[in-house]
Subunit: 411 residues, 2 copies
């Protein structure tokens, strides 16, 4: 527990950090109140521009223009257009991302397509071109849905699922490996995995790499193009602030798009969707990842939410994110009684996402008490307090206050 | 072309029909203007209660309660709750419908699950329990996405896709048939298929019936439970007025739910979704059809849209729908020069949905001229004018006016 002198010093530090924070003004673009919201890694706060845009979509685009809005309001092209808005945040050039469906559905598309690509490319263990590639490797610590969906994708493509720790991935890769599904940042611990070296290892084995960016996109540079990632998926309701259940996205690297053979070839991915042809012909480019009619309300709310990123380099976001989590860990060390919490989040910057996970006895009850006192994080079964730091609207004074309240609750 | 006396007589008839229309007041629950909107079978008009509800969801539930809304605003349970609101409109008891994902994605879940069910049930042509069931039969005149998705489902389950006309379905069913995917109403011609007898024929062959209700739900009684349908899917943005791309739904008959083996076993369908267990265990009941995080904005807009059905029996909707299409065909016969259009929609009531499709030379251009004159239908490649009649907000005077404008355009 800190001495009064120490809290005063940390408060002064927080003030000073906030006063020189180049992203401080971004907070004005969000609807916030007196709570300290450290759950933006579960549901991002409401960007102030969203309600007006949604009202226009509902009242004018749907209510007045009705069916004409598919053309006149740009509804039909929204999945690609909004994909291109997300692209710079994850280091992708244009024309490689489409928005739509849930993350789970996109994981399914990506893993099935990855297995098919790996087999086409050949070099597998068995007979024929890539015929021996019958393993899907998945991060054993993944957010569960990725594992469940990867297992289904494996079952439907005649593969076996092989869950391993990310650190063990290089050791299990080989001529049987078809696809590898990995999380950029672990949802529970906040550990950041080495996308570059793991992707290179997957490629060296002749397999296809699928990355889940749910907990990294919008919080740190991803570098999809730079690191040669094959396929990637991510949600948009965490650091991208798209709103509850806003549609996810799918990245297919440009030179792989012709080989992207979707297990969900809905009419929106057809080369001539209004030709109403009985035979399927996949569209060129990223829109081959589309499926059915896009959910326009959620999608255009997301589009409005992305306006907050105008002029904000992801590198600045990353710098502030690390400063926030460093400062939080420092404040926790100062304020929380010895031995009451243990950080599961790596201390090395290169291994840390934008959250801090603290193991704590009675974590569920502790989180309820924090929430009652205006510090919003979340509880992850069985014993984790999870705090997410969204650099666009979380400040250093928030961080100091959150750690202070945690210290009082655990005193 | 009609004589002036004939138009006067039809206008008087329209007035009389509108004055005795028991659903006339339902129109007040929609945002409408001076156009005749006959495209509600593509995108339903805006229910007046939706904008206020969406604003509350965005500003208060997301903006103020944020993450708490998953519990406090009922976000988490929305897919089942809204499914139960749709259920009475399609003749289903509660607990059998979940809302979420696009129609295409639901077709995929349903067809893969149907093949698996058929094989479990056995009785197939080959070795072992149902092992010989390797055909998926699909309506050859289907809206294309159903065919594309059924083909993918067949490919992933080791089946062959067999497209046949609905009238030929009974003849091709046999011990090789696993699943049959049919449309209740043909999207192009408006033909209503006999759900009861076709389902019985599928069952007699030991196969599983999947019905697409996109063009029937909300326009006529479906009778899912009564007719023993196995699985069904449908969209909610046509006669259910849920808004552009609002989420689709999936029906799984209660006694089949334990055997519903989803190809998209996302974490929302887990028996213990917040247990974050690495092993998948399917939830009981309809929510086994869920996948990922539901898109709350679109979903709760749909929930508000369903309020317009309170106190409206689907039988009254059907009676008015038939009266509207009868009257439209009569007005078209009176107003349109002989030989300029030909109805593709069956004249027998038992074979007619809630739309009229007219074959017409230069249909694309004709539709543009109709739209310019305030009559909104749609054009379907290559030569079809399609007019949808939504009994909740289309009146008989609208019908007379639409036919009159069509007659003038084609004069």
């Amino acid at each position: 527990m800190s001495e009064p002198r120490e809290s005063a010093e940390l408060r002064t530090r927080a003030e000073s950090l906030d006063s020189t924070d180049e992203l401080a003004k971004a907070r004005e673009q969000f609807v916030l109140d007196e709570v300290v919201y450290l759950d933006g890694n579960s549901l991002g706060a409401l960007p102030a521009g969203v309600p007006g845009r949604v009202e226009d979509v509902v009242r004018r685009q749907w209510g007045e223009l009705r069916i004409r809005s598919w053309d006149e309001s740009g509804w039909w092209t929204a999945p690609e257009r909004i994909g291109d808005r997300i692209a710079p945040l994850v280091g992708a050039g244009p024309g490689q991302i489409v928005v739509g469906d849930s993350t789970s559905v996109n994981v399914f598309k990506a893993v099935v397509a990855a297995v098919r690509m790996a087999r086409l490319a050949g070099g597998g263990a068995g007979q024929g071109a890539g015929g021996g590639r019958d393993e899907v490797v998945v991060d054993a610590t993944t957010f569960p849905t990725d594992g469940y969906i990867a297992e289904s994708a494996a079952r439907l493509t005649g593969c076996t699922l092989r869950p391993v720790l990310p650190s063990e991935v290089p050791d299990v890769l080989g001529p049987r490996t078809a696809a590898v599904l990995l999380n950029h940042v672990d949802y529970r611990t906040g550990r950041l995995h080495d996308l570059q070296s793991l992707t290179a290892a997957v490629h060296a084995a002749g397999a296809v790499a699928v990355w889940d960016l749910c907990h990294s996109a919008g919080a740190l540079p991803v570098g999809l193009d730079e690191h040669g990632v094959d396929l990637a998926v991510g949600c948009t309701y965490k650091y991208l602030n798209g709103g509850p259940g806003s549609p996810a996205y799918l990245y297919v690297r440009r030179d792989l798009q012709d080989r992207f053979d979707s297990p969900l070839p809905g009419w929106n991915s057809h080369a001539e969707p209004f030709g109403m042809r009985p035979d399927y012909e996949a569209a060129p480019g990223a829109l081959r990842g589309r499926v059915g009619t896009p959910d326009i309300l959620s999608m255009l709310a997301l589009e409005a939410a992305l306006d907050v990123w105008d002029g904000i380099p992801i590198e600045s976001v990353r710098a502030k994110s690390l400063a926030l989590t460093d400062f939080f860990l420092e404040c926790v060390a100062a304020y929380v009684p010895e031995g009451r919490v243990e950080s599961l989040t790596p201390s090395a910057h290169r291994e840390r996402g934008s959250q801090v996970a603290l193991r704590c006895d009675n974590a569920g009850e502790v989180m309820q008490r924090l929430i009652a006192r205006g510090v919003i994080g979340d509880f992850r079964h069985p014993d984790v307090l999870r705090f997410g730091f969204t650099p666009l609207y979380v400040g250093f004074a928030d961080v100091e206050r959150a750690a202070g309240v945690l210290g009082e609750v655990l005193a």
